[in-house]
């Protein structure tokens, strides 16, 4: 391409940089009002599927910067809760607020994501026909409207950011591999990577360590712990060892509502929790290890 043409292109691009050319059109900064130190309010949430109550008067409050573990029996409603928060599923009644000012229930998935809520699915979902790199590029925190996307271009900072993420999730070598060709565990990592690249305010992570080796589990734990503080993290996991290693506050769901909430120790000695979830042995094990 000639220099002239490049120049043209550059100026066109400049023209379409709305934030500069037309400041009034700049994307509205997703300000989240975190007064009360609270970032997520879930109140009186109800949801039933053909009469089956998946969520039952669920109340949950998450502090800003917190790392919260959500556990509960299979089918307790953890994934469903995330579905409601991220706009995938419509609830029957209740309220969900992100900060004090964003009512999530009247927003769609994309809007919620743009507010800074990222999600990792229980079953890893990545863009199978794109490379690992492209998967990450797409997840970057950028203006995601149509025209800006058309004229946007990878900046060196963004490339560095992606490289960094690739390293963190151990996929640097697979950068140009199609995501569909990754193994199950690798997809898990890639999805976590996509979450990191998006740099969200609130992370909803559904069973991150399923299929990971012990060491990888440890690494994930470290990663999540390091994320907390600046960001808010909600993790669902059945691996008690992992939960123990990261948890400060643990919430136990049961049949669509909160059964118990507290520190790991409190939870582990909670009779109900032991009965419906942990089982005698697991509870014992955990205590034993601690002791």
């Amino acid at each position: 391409m000639s220099a002239l043409a490049l120049n043209r292109l550059e100026s066109t691009r400049e023209f379409f940089r709305r934030d500069q050319v037309w400041p009034f059109l700049a994307p509205e900064q997703a300000q989240v009002n975190v007064g009360n130190q609270m970032i997520l309010y879930v109140e009186d949430l109800n949801l039933s599927f053909d009469g089956f109550k998946a969520l039952n008067n669920l109340n949950l409050y998450i502090n800003d910067g917190e790392l919260r573990c959500l556990i509960g029996a299979n089918g307790a409603g953890k994934t469903t809760l995330m579905d409601v928060i991220t706009g995938k599923t419509q609830c029957d009644s209740g309220t969900v607020f992100f900060g004090q000012n964003h009512n999530l229930l009247n927003k769609d998935e994309a809007e919620i994501a743009q507010l800074g809520i990222g999600r990792k699915f229980q079953k890893p979902t990545v863009f199978e026909e794109q490379t690992v790199f492209d998967n990450l590029e797409l997840s970057l925190k950028t203006d995601k409207r149509v025209l800006p996307t058309l004229f946007s271009r990878l900046t060196p900072t963004q490339i560095d950011r992606i490289d960094e993420v690739l390293k963190t999730v151990g996929l640097a070598k697979h950068r140009f591999m199609l995501a569909g060709a990754l193994s199950h565990g690798q997809k898990q990592w890639l999805e976590i990577g996509m979450l990191l690249a998006a740099d969200p305010r609130l992370l909803l992570i559904d069973e991150p360590v399923a299929g990971m080796t012990a060491q990888e589990t440890e690494r994930t734990a470290e990663l999540l712990t390091s994320l907390a503080g600046e960001r808010t993290v909600i993790v669902v996991e059945h691996d008690m060892e992992f939960v123990r290693s990261i948890a400060r506050t643990v919430t136990v769901l049961h049949q669509g509502s909160v059964l118990a909430e507290g520190t790991m120790d409190q939870i582990q000695s909670n009779k109900d929790v032991i009965e419906v979830y942990l089982g005698e042995e697991a509870a014992e094990e955990g205590k034993g290890e601690r002791a």
Binding site: N74, T79, H184, A214, G279
Partner: protein, 235 residues
């Protein structure tokens, strides 16, 4: 029971399994371990006949399986619980379980028309969800369904690919118990891929460590030591 001799396997142009050898004794519980992406799932799929192998031989009780289709292998007694559950999402739980009944009929000779009650004893939640679509179940429930579904086949060899993924602790324990019990009482041969050491140790009798598409260590479970773990399982 099953022996695998220098099996090579490729995805498109990339080779995943490299001259892999593996011997599974009748009545054993063999735990295959290895890092992500070393080819564990690939190996299991090859045994099940879901992936063609490029060279080598897989035999079961002396019969060569290589050319046999997956459904023949199911009739021959291999049950498979895949990674990622792979239940039939739009079928009800009951239908998911019924799929295997013809095989069971052939294998047990008593041609049962009904889903064996013991599946529900193992996973009571399936009974409650009998008429729910498989895809609507929670992840853990699906995993239970996947195991239950394989057990309907009344297999003599059970292949489990990370069966505890997403399952609540008390049920994980229960699954372990079931495996042990079936192994002990019915002589079920089990091939288990498992990442969680605790579970592997409790249930497995043998271990095989994989790396880059090869078996790199094999021994009794008691002998799985920290050196090996460091070498082959740590990142």
């Amino acid at each position: 029971m099953i022996s695998i001799n220098s099996v090579d396997q490729l995805y498109g142009g990339t080779q995943i399994l490299w001259g892999l050898d593996l011997e599974i004794e009748t009545g054993s519980i063999t735990c295959i371990m290895g890092r992500n992406g070393v080819g564990k799932t690939t190996l299991l799929k090859a045994i099940m006949g879901l992936l063609p192998i490029k060279s080598g031989e897989i035999t079961m009780k002396g019969a060569v399986l290589n050319k046999q289709s997956a459904e023949k292998r199911a009739y021959a007694g291999i049950g498979y619980v895949p990674q990622g559950r792979d239940i039939f999402p739009m079928l009800t739980v009951e239908e998911n379980l019924r799929i295997g009944l013809p095989v069971r009929g052939k294998r047990t000779k008593d041609s049962p028309k009904e889903i064996p009650e013991k599946i529900f004893e193992l996973f009571p939640v399936l009974k409650d969800m009998l008429h729910r679509r498989g895809g609507d179940l929670s992840g853990g429930q699906q995993q239970q369904l996947a195991i239950g579904r394989a057990l309907v086949l009344e297999p003599s060899v059970l292949i489990l690919d990370e069966p505890n993924e997403g399952i609540q602790p008390n049920i994980v324990k229960q699954i372990g118990d079931v495996i042990l019990k079936l192994n002990k009482e019915e002589g079920l041969t089990v091939i288990l891929v498992e990442q969680k050491l605790g579970f592997a140790r409790r249930v497995g009798k043998e271990f095989r460590l994989m790396e880059k598409g090869r078996i790199v260590a094999a021994d009794k479970m008691e002998n799985l030591n920290d050196t090996l773990i460091k070498q082959y399982l740590a990142v």
